[in-house]
Symmetry: C2
Subunit: 355 residues, 2 copies
Amino acid sequence: MFFSIQVYIFVFEFMSKSNITKKHYTSHDVAELAGVSQATVSRVFAGNTKVSEKKRNQIMEAARKLNYRPNAHARSLITRRSMLIGIVMRTIRNPFYSAVLEIFHNRFSALGYHLIFINSENEHIEESEIHKLLEYNVAGVIISDALLTQDAEERFRENGIAVVIFNRYADNSANSVVLCDNYLSAKQIATYLLKTGHRHFAYISGPPHTSISQDRLRGFREVLDENGVSKLHLEAGDYTYDSGFQLAQELMMNNKDIDCIFGGNDIIALGVMDAIRNLGFDVPHDVSVIGFDNIRMSNWTSYNLTTWEQPLEGMVDNTVAILLEEINGKIGKPKKLVMKGRLVIRNTVRNRNAG
Amino acid sequence: MFFSIQVYIFVFEFMSKSNITKKHYTSHDVAELAGVSQATVSRVFAGNTKVSEKKRNQIMEAARKLNYRPNAHARSLITRRSMLIGIVMRTIRNPFYSAVLEIFHNRFSALGYHLIFINSENEHIEESEIHKLLEYNVAGVIISDALLTQDAEERFRENGIAVVIFNRYADNSANSVVLCDNYLSAKQIATYLLKTGHRHFAYISGPPHTSISQDRLRGFREVLDENGVSKLHLEAGDYTYDSGFQLAQELMMNNKDIDCIFGGNDIIALGVMDAIRNLGFDVPHDVSVIGFDNIRMSNWTSYNLTTWEQPLEGMVDNTVAILLEEINGKIGKPKKLVMKGRLVIRNTVRNRNAG
DNA sequence: TTTTACTATGCATATGTATGCAAATTGGTT
DNA sequence: AACCAATTTGCATACATATGCATAGTAAAA
């Protein structure tokens, strides 16, 4: 340890905290003040029944005076539905998922929903977390990580809660799924690398047992095979910088001929770039690097990473739309929505067809 | 636009979704099956009254059979408290706050609380978001951003909801506050830069109207003044890479003598480094750079940023502890808890005392 | 066995809102 | 003015749990 960490506390003698046990007003209070029945107040705030303009105004005025807000728990209790959405992630520290969370929040907030945020530390969702979401009668759940196991999904579905999976696909899932077309993306990436004259390929993927990794590998290999490239250096990382750095370092030291590396996400690719440079090589002169996600950092001057952009906003929009449909009872067959992305060309892939 | 983004949908004919309107069991059902009263079931699950071992077992057994879970809304309705905590942030895309969110989630999850995540896009919290949190009777709220304005805090306090402010301090707040000692940190940073022979200082801060920026500036200036350095190039960024890059570029082009730049957070500092390098200068040979936060990226090989580490885990632990105290009614004077961090020395500050 | 003291349990009710049904009001038509 | 249809409103109840109070149950003491 460096310096010892110390703490010091000041206690200020500000105004003592307003311990006013402020009366909590209910629809009955509003009704009384407005001279109507509680039912009518309820109808105004629920908003799905007609109330005369005159009484509505009286009620709104009274509600304003009392600073009335309907009690969400009472409402959820009787309607058996809440305005809460569970969103389950695994690695919020991954900038891609930070962006995902931000966008989901924007969308759901605009619709009046609130997000209950769950971050799993490993590959399954804690039982206690599932229970809590069930107890709170969440309207729906979004599971957004490549790694989370499937048992949790079923728990929600068993309990009649809508679930949409974001960014992962497992064939036997009974839930709708929204994701980027990993197979096609990998094909296009491989095509681009071949077109720019690369012949010695390495791919540092995410964990190999996920659909994402498998689809990409399949697409990547297919194109290589079609073009007579049989050798592919394959390593499995875990979507972290360190794994990218470590594996690229090993690859480069053991295989001097590698001329391009495809990283399973941008963070891996950035680690790859740093490892390559650290060994004294130049990107893209000696080795080309290509990533996946197009996170903000890939655009930083130090990296300028060529990468694949996932249509994040569109993916989120569709996920929200599907979830809302299911919440509103239009339960059909599970949908699989596969969206294309696009190649973002920056400066980490060199055209080796010189001459 | 590059490629047009397209979408295609498959609808699979899996098992049609289990539309089983599964009966939702209540404490009455459990009571009946266990041969006791509903009240006793409630007592078992509430956990704050004694129930005989025998009946407890009968009840747990019955609950297991029915897969019973208490309804959180009914519970919150009658107890007037929920196990929900609102956590308000402004820029979840900032890696520092991603880490903050992750740690808060870990802590509260272990305590049985759930996090309602709110991300504000600008400097105030939307009224609708505040309302929703109030409607859901959140047990407490953590406001975690340097920029969020103060009116929201008061709304919560007015409604008897505990609030703790994380990482910001305003003198007239009636709420408890946990933060890093920005004043002292800035002093130590300035001292370190002076000790290593720097004489021409620049500071690219966050938005200037926040306590964080002001405290740091005060500390930084104080040490410079004490050491006879009167000139400080001061620019206000907004905690983004782009602002760091932009402002550093301008600074460097207009002031060739600057020999060190202090960034208001690591993201700014990384932008600063890239700008310096982009102009053909070397870090730290020509210019030293120092950051604040010690986010993971500052340790990346490309940067290796010397920075100030905030004691994040400790700050979170204390925030949680204070919030719980207030939730449990031990409402005393608002506390101000100021924690020290430590300097993390890497490779972006050069010792200019050569010879 | 009876009395006492204490604990465990059940009864009844409260929490705040939504909604089916019946009653009341409104407005238009004759 | 009277009637009818259509709309608005109120009454009463349900949602699922927690808890004060009274009572039943148990064990210890006399």
